[in-house]
């Protein structure tokens, strides 16, 4: 690396500048995305060069959106959103290309508009970029959000790492700020460009061609050069705004540079139009901040935007101006939350900023001095997750909260349009990002039902726009007794992004969510998963497509061989049947028919419960109960005898779990009290058995009491059984079964527990009052109160303590106190 820096190849940079910047028809302007100083110099170059055509590095399938970006009513930040569905590979891709007011690309577009010259994006269309990258490279790198901008080529190069180490910079961003932003705007444009080309040249020289090829970089440079050549051929003066890394590559393909660069054969993949999407959306500064996990270019968008604004106004020291402003704003925010930062702290912090700038050889204090000064001067104590609040507030101030505005005539994806229309229709507040609450009575008011459907659909689309705080949740089987729904909703730009993401499914919220639901049905689901979709369809009000959903569920039920999956399906369909009228679903007969099919199939599969795992035994008991409840409901016209016969076979199976056996016996008792004898015999079988069988009595009773607790109430036989069990068990074994026994008695109501206590007392010839505890008696309470007062008086007399006393009263009937 040292060799490279000292070698005579530095002359190459001068040559590069000459070719890129003095050609009569071409200016190749290298930039860093969102850089204010690049915008500053670019403006000057455009005004001096007066191009006929401005070409900007960006996917060319967004050219039609440029007029909306530069419209008078539009204000950045905004972003171009690209999507591509690779149907052959079954993958979807998307990326964002943000623009801030200080972005050189945006400046180029505005200047192009003022000049009245052609302004276009010149890079490969997004789908072609994706198809030309290797997995894990460039836009195919796994990350939370994908950005079009390719600053990583510069920032990640070996040269930059070396340069940062040698100059003591903590990151490329700090390096960039010191050597380009802070002093760069005062330099002549020629000097600035030469410095930048040096940086880009060195970054490129230390990057392997292989990496550039895998990255798709070489193909893109070929394509962009072709675009430029075409304009130059028409005798146009062309100004091309490019990421500086590409300078040599593009010049080579234009025939203006001697160094040989690999040429990659390329042919368009002719992606169908419906598989690609490109939309413009308003954006926010904090979303554009690279530190939020999004590698867009420079960090701290609000900081650099404000620097650019004052720079353009002609301030002598624009960075320090904004540093001071942000220190004050940060101080205010911290005081609001904590109150621990004073004006003097701000003064000290400002002095720290200036001192650090001088020490670091910077023209003026910048973003990194600002952060350092807040850390040093605002945080009083050890830096940890509690004390770092001032840094968090500063970060918010430096990132910014500004939201862009798009002209009203900008094309909006139909899905977003529908969303906005519906919000207006339902009078939902979406002008700010504040959370709002809405209480709905969907089962008594039609309008509320429609709003509920809307919220459910928005949820299903994964927009995170709305969230049910309280209310019936069919799919989860919770709060089904509630008739009101409390919703919380909140608008954020991410809602629009997600809607755009889902716009491939349809043009309206209803269509997109329904389509998504039906798509989900195509996946290989178990019938229990598919039946959840029935509930979702109900919650979203898809009365018309319910038929399709139920047909798909039926198909899966026919193929299903798992008892537990069928049980899950049955449970969901029972919910659906019970609540269909609330949600105005008319397929009641189909649901009833399905319930019957599932029931009969489950009866056939009852034998499989012999081998069910311990962890699923409780769920199996629930399934049996549901089957029984369905039988009792005459609406379904189910043949109870089938279940009875099935359970009779089940209970005699040798290796059935005692919990399930107990529950099955309880249900049989529900069919006929003649099973009583068998149940008692089975109970004694556990209690009087040898070895581990005694401990199995507890789950047996638990299962039995779950489904037939009235057996205990009718006679004392089970209590006698339990008594013997408790006598027989060792202390260790008792402790082992205690949790199960507690659960067994949890099914009884307090009154029933009292009755059981009475029976137990009678068994041992005792009074039930001996067993019952009613808490403290009135007499005991009165004694305690009296003592408390006496002690307080004594302490007051001795002037001990601070107890506030009420006047003591003599308690009647207390002797000797």
């Amino acid at each position: 690396m040292e060799k490279v820096l000292r070698s005579t190849s530095m002359d190459t940079v001068k040559e590069l500048y000459k070719v890129a910047f003095t050609h009569p028809q071409l200016r190749l302007f290298p930039i860093r995305h969102h850089s204010p100083v690049c915008s500053h110099h670019l403006k000057k170059v455009i005004q001096k060069f007066q191009p006929d055509c401005i070409l900007i590095e960006g996917p060319s399938n967004a050219n039609k959106l440029i007029p909306y970006l530069t419209h008078e009513e539009s204000q950045p930040p905004f972003a171009i959103y690209y999507s591509f569905k690779n149907t052959s590979a079954g993958k979807e891709y998307k990326c964002y290309y943000p623009f801030l007011s200080c972005s050189p690309e945006y400046t180029a577009m505005l200047e192009g508009k003022h000049l009245g010259c052609e302004t276009e994006f010149m890079d490969l269309p997004y789908d072609e970029i994706i198809l030309s990258c290797e997995d894990g490279q460039s836009l195919l790198q796994e990350q939370e959000k994908s950005s079009y901008n390719d600053d990583y080529l510069l920032a990640g190069s070996d040269y930059v790492k070396y340069a940062c180490e040698k100059t003591g910079m903590r990151s490329f961003d700090e390096f960039w700020e010191k050597y380009f932003e802070l002093g760069g705007w005062k330099l002549s444009t020629e000097t600035f460009i030469q410095n930048l080309l040096t940086d880009c040249y060195l970054a490129r020289v230390t990057t392997s061609e292989d990496l550039m090829w895998k990255d798709g970089c070489l193909i893109r440079e070929q394509f962009m050069a072709e675009h430029i050549r075409e304009k130059m051929y028409r005798n146009k003066k062309v100004l091309a705004v490019i990421g500086g890394f590409h300078t040599q590559g593009i010049l080579y393909h234009l025939g203006l540079w001697q160094e040989t660069i690999r040429t990659v054969p390329w042919k368009s993949h002719k992606t169908p139009k419906e598989d690609t999407g490109v939309y413009i959306m308003s954006y926010s500064e904090d979303a554009a901040d690279m530190l939020n996990g999004y590698r867009s270019g420079m960090p701290f968008p609000a900081f650099y935007r404000r620097v650019y604004e004052v720079m353009e106004k002609g301030y002598e020291r624009p960075f320090e101006e904004i540093v001071q402003d942000m220190l004050i704003e940060c101080g205010k925010q911290v005081r609001r939350k904590d109150g621990g930062v004073s004006t003097y702290d701000e003064i000290c912090a400002m002095q720290m900023c200036q001192g650090l700038a001088a020490l670091r050889g910077k023209h003026e204090a910048g973003a990194y001095e600002l952060v350092d000064s807040v850390q040093s001067s605002f945080i009083k104590g050890e830096l940890n997750h509690i004390s770092q609040m001032p840094l968090i507030e500063l970060r918010k101030v430096m990132s910014g909260r500004k939201r862009g505005v798009l002209t009203a005539i900008a094309p909006i994806p139909p899905l977003v349009q529908d969303f906005e229309n519906l919000c207006k229709k339902y009078r939902l507040h979406v002008s700010g990002a504040a959370r709002r609450e809405l209480i709905l009575e969907p089962f008594s008011k039609e309008r509320h039902l429609q709003i509920s459907f809307f919220f459910q659909r928005m949820n299903y689309l994964g927009t995170e726009f709305s969230h049910m705080k309280k209310g019936p949740q069919l799919a989860a089987g919770r709060n089904l007794n509630l008739i009101r729904e409390t919703w919380e909703y909140r608008y954020r730009p991410e809602v629009i992004h997600r809607l755009i993401d889902q716009s491939v499914y349809g043009g309206t919220i209803e269509e997109a969510s329904e389509s998504l639901l039906l798509n989900r049905l195509q996946e290989s689901l178990h019938c229990s998963e598919a039946s959840v979709l029935v509930l979702h369809a109900m919650e979203m009000g898809f009365a018309e497509s319910m038929g399709k959903v139920l047909a798909a569920v039926e198909k899966m039920v026919v193929q299903e061989t798992s008892f537990m999956d069928l049980a899950g399906c049955l449970e969901h369909l029972l919910f659906a049947s019970q609540r269909k009228s609330f949600y105005k679903i008319e397929h009641g007969d189909v649901i009833v028919r399905l319930i019957k099919i599932i029931y009969e199939k489950m009866v056939l599969l009852l034998g499989s419960l012999e081998s069910v795992e311990n962890e699923r035994a409780t769920a199996a008991v629930g399934a049996l109960k549901n089957m029984y409840q369905a039988v009792l409901n005459q609406q379904y016209e189910l043949n109870g005898m089938l279940l009875e016969e099935g359970l009779k076979s089940l209970v005699v199976k040798k290796s059935i779990k005692p919990l399930i056996r107990g529950a099955a016996y309880g249900i049989l008792y529900g069919f006929s009290s003649e099973y009583r004898k068998d149940i008692i015999k089975a109970g004694w079988g556990y209690v009087q058995g040898s070895g581990d069988s005694k401990t199995m009595a507890a789950p047996f009773f638990r299962g039995l009491f779950n489904t037939a607790k009235d057996m205990v109430m009718e006679s004392s036989e089970f209590l006698i059984m339990l008594n013997e069990l408790l006598h027989e068990l060792s202390e260790e074994a008792f402790v082992e079964i205690l949790p199960e026994l507690r659960m067994a008695f949890a099914y009884f109501m307090p009154q029933e527990t009292d009755k059981i206590a009475k029976k137990v007392a009678q068994l041992f010839g005792r009074n039930e009052k001996d067993l019952k505890r009613y808490g403290i008696s009135g007499r005991t309470y009165a004694l305690g109160e009296y003592l408390d007062q006496e002690v307080q008086q004594f302490m007051e007399g001795e002037e001990i303590g601070w107890i506030v006393t009420e006047s003591a009263t003599e308690m009647p009937g207390i002797d000797g106190a």
Binding site: C348, L356, L359, S376, K380, N384
Partner: protein, 370 residues
């Protein structure tokens, strides 16, 4: 040559470097500073470019690793109105940094108040030579100045080590001194006001494991800028620190023995993993409750080195290394030995199987863990 002191002060240890920096210093100096802020920075963070002094090339070595920006902030703080408070876990080089700053800025790193639970206001401000006091009455001659008094009088830095160990009311006596930069000596009547000279400032240190800075009053906290020194996060850097510090110690003690880089690497990895609670391979490790600082690692290495030099064959004995490691770990809580045992039984064993060599010997030395 016999060394006359166990630990010479920084200004003596780096006398030549400081002189070279002073001779070549063209930067602006805050009032009464021996060096400019840039030169102080160079002294502590080092430079690739040697300085010419007295016909020689003097290389300024890097002395503090891990956070250059922190050092810069410390320098700027000391040039301003506020004191500097260095906080962190024990063994993170707070004292070393405060000594380096003092040596570079005022040429005196020994003007120190050592904070303890028994520190009184006399130790912070001044006391009296009672014989002289009785003989001649209150006078400057009879006054025994504290380091803080000396710092104010001479316009140099005063170091307050472990300031948070002092009782709160003693700490609070610093408040008016730090804000008004004046100390009142009522016994001296009209002459009883000592105004601090330019160049005076205070560097405090506090370790977060003991009392930390929680008991410091808000009024006193506001008189300081705080800098938290975190343990070294990079294993390679930790190894470098171990090597550098041990080299320095061995030079002072004339322990003429080559350093074993592999052992330094092994020790750095051990300390790093036990401190972080996770191995390089992702094994979760029970963290010992004791301090696993780089300073401790230096100490363990150096002890092992001395053992090899005086009792061995001038090589690093892994058994001895493990024994010294256990000695360092066990000083607070014997349960920590079990955690080290667990570390050996999982991570070290795994590495011994994969890499063999030194790791294998290291694993075999686990027999010393009782």
């Amino acid at each position: 040559m016999e060394t006359t002191r166990i630990k010479p002060p920084m200004e003596e240890l780096y006398q030549e470097e400081l002189a070279a920096l002073a001779a070549n210093d063209t930067g602006r100096k805050p009032q009464n500073w021996k060096l400019s802020a840039k030169a102080v920075r160079t002294f502590i963070l080092g430079s690739h470019i040697p300085l010419k002094y007295n016909g020689k090339e003097i290389h300024i070595a890097k002395k503090f690793y891990g956070n250059d920006a922190l050092v810069e902030r410390c320098i700027i703080t000391l040039a301003g109105n506020r004191g500097l408070m260095l906080v962190g876990e024990p063994g993170t080089a707070k004292t070393m940094l405060s000594e380096l700053l003092s040596a570079a800025i005022c040429g005196n790193s020994t003007n120190t108040v050592q904070g303890t639970a028994g520190t009184t206001e006399d130790a912070i401000k001044y006391s009296w030579n009672y014989a002289l006091l009785l003989a001649k009455g209150p006078s400057r001659e009879a006054l025994v100045p504290s380091p803080l008094y000396v710092g104010m009088e001479q316009g140099i830095l005063t170091r307050l080590e472990e300031i948070t160990r002092c009782p709160a009311e003693i700490q609070d006596s610093l408040i008016s001194i730090l804000s008004d930069k004046v100390m009142s000596v009522p016994e001296l009547g009209n002459q009883g006001l000592l105004f601090a000279k330019p160049g005076f400032n205070v560097i405090g240190t506090a370790n977060t494991r003991d009392k930390g800075v929680n008991e410091m009053s808000s009024a006193l906290k506001r008189r300081f800028n705080f800098e938290t020194i975190l343990p070294v996060a990079d294993v390679a850097l930790e190894k470098k620190i171990i090597m550098n510090e041990v080299r320095k110690l061995s030079l002072l003690d004339h322990v003429d023995m080559e350093m074993d880089e592999d052992v330094a690497d092994l020790l750095a990895i051990t300390y790093h993993e036990l401190r972080e609670g996770v191995s390089a391979e992702g094994h979760r490790i029970d963290k010992p409750s004791c301090v696993m600082s780089t300073a401790e690692a230096v100490s363990v290495y150096y002890q092992t080195m001395m053992n090899g030099y005086y009792y061995g064959d001038r090589s690093m004995d892994v058994d001895c290394l493990v024994q010294n490691l256990l000695g360092a770990v066990a000083k607070e809580n014997r349960d920590d030995l079990q955690k080290v045992k667990g570390y050996f039984q999982t991570v070290v064993k795994d590495r011994s199987n994969k890499e063999g060599g030194l790791w294998k010997k290291y694993y075999e030395a686990r027999r010393w863990i009782q």
